[in-house]
């Protein structure tokens, strides 16, 4: 699937701009902290409006001069740095949130498949605040996958984890890339992570 992104947005006194094309596999947006990598993901997700440019995924235009799809219509899954699970819903209700909203034709994974894929079957009745960092990140990944996305955005998903958990989650990300063949836009400032995971690297500078 072809991903074609050319966006610019002024935030305060600096301009965040990125222009790249990506294919399937994992495309790492690599650069120092504060370079605006997260803002680029937010523009792709529809949470931040670019001042100009375009965002195309496959045949679909998410944003250009004439089109600006709202986030809920973009089929873009987003795994945030901090998991961002809904605190008032149990793990099961977090996982099914997007699944229940998606038209059946757009879903490509069931709750059983997702829990098995991520090894989170034993967490379904827990509350988010009782999860460890690694568990919460798995649930966040599952929640995004279950909404039936065409592309997955990941914003430094390993940054809040200890070394052992990082390895676990990296293995999960590799399986999303290789087994599920879901295109991933991955933000990181960690060279080792990018070397291990990335199919393609896009440098994001000041």
């Amino acid at each position: 699937m072809a991903i074609d992104i050319d966006v610019a947005r002024r935030l305060g006194d600096r301009t965040i701009a990125a222009r790249f094309a990506a294919g399937s596999g994992l495309t790492a947006l690599f650069g120092p902290s504060g370079a605006g990598k997260t803002s680029i993901l937010n523009m792709v997700a529809g949470l931040l409006r670019p001042d100009r440019g375009h965002i195309r995924i496959g045949e679909r235009t998410l944003f250009d001069g004439a089109t600006d799809l709202p986030p809920e219509a973009r089929r873009v899954g987003y795994v945030f740095q901090d998991g961002r699970l809904f605190p008032h819903r149990r793990v099961r209700a977090n996982l099914t949130y997007g699944h229940d909203l998606a038209p059946p034709a757009n879903r490509w994974m069931s709750l059983e498949e997702a829990t098995q894929f991520l090894g989170i079957g034993h967490l379904l009745d827990r509350w988010p605040h009782s999860l460890s960092g690694g568990e919460a990140q798995r649930v966040a990944i599952g929640r995004a996958l279950l909404a039936g996305p065409e592309i997955l955005l990941m914003d430094e998903p390993l940054s809040s984890l200890d070394a052992a958990r990082r390895g676990d989650i990296m293995a999960v990300i590799e399986r999303i890339r290789d087994e599920l063949e879901l295109p991933i836009l991955y933000v990181s400032h960690d060279r080792a992570e990018v070397d291990r995971l990335a199919t393609q690297v896009v440098a994001i500078g000041e």
């Binding site: 986030p71 987003y78 961002r84 605040h129 995004a144």
Partner: protein, 231 residues
Amino acid sequence: MLSAEEWGIVALSLKIGGVAVLITLPVAFALAWILARYRFPGRVVLDGLVHLPLVLPPVVTGWLLLIAFGPLGPVGRWLESWFGMTLMFRWTGAALAAAIMALPLMVRAMRLSIEGIDRRLEGAARTLGAGRWHAFRTISLPLALPGILAALVLGFARSIGEFGATITFVSNIPGETRTLPLAIYSALQVPGGEAMVTRLALLSVALSLGALILSEWLVRRTHSEGQRRGD
């Protein structure tokens, strides 16, 4: 323990307090939401107007209600000619006075809980396929719920304690507008009314204390929810 007359007073107070908070709830929530989420010119003025009943002498609030809702007032005349409805000297007028006095407290409680919601959760919901309204209903509203309940309890307690605006706007009519505080005031004027004053005053203390404890508990629940989210 209480006489039939005193039970009547309690029932009237609860009815007026209940109606007052139910009228105020949607208005207060809308105001709290706007003040918590939006920056616009005139915001400071709106904030000031909402808080006005908190600092204005209640008798002035009552007088303003009299001017607006009295039979010759702009709103009162309109209500009278279109609906045949009068608020002055009626329990509905007492409910309106109580509602206005409860408004600032209710807005404050709800605004705090709305400001405590992590807005990024709404963004997360949107990326999962929720439209604005659905995200509001399933994420923001449930997370604000403890604050809404606290506002209801506080507003109710404030309503049944309302005195100054009530007596100015709807007078002190037994069975129609004589709520707990007005009844206590009346009993104080009558020789031999001390026993009734004591009973009604104790009842007022119990109701107010119960409401404060309940709302404090609800607010603390919101708080611990926020801390959990910060983990």
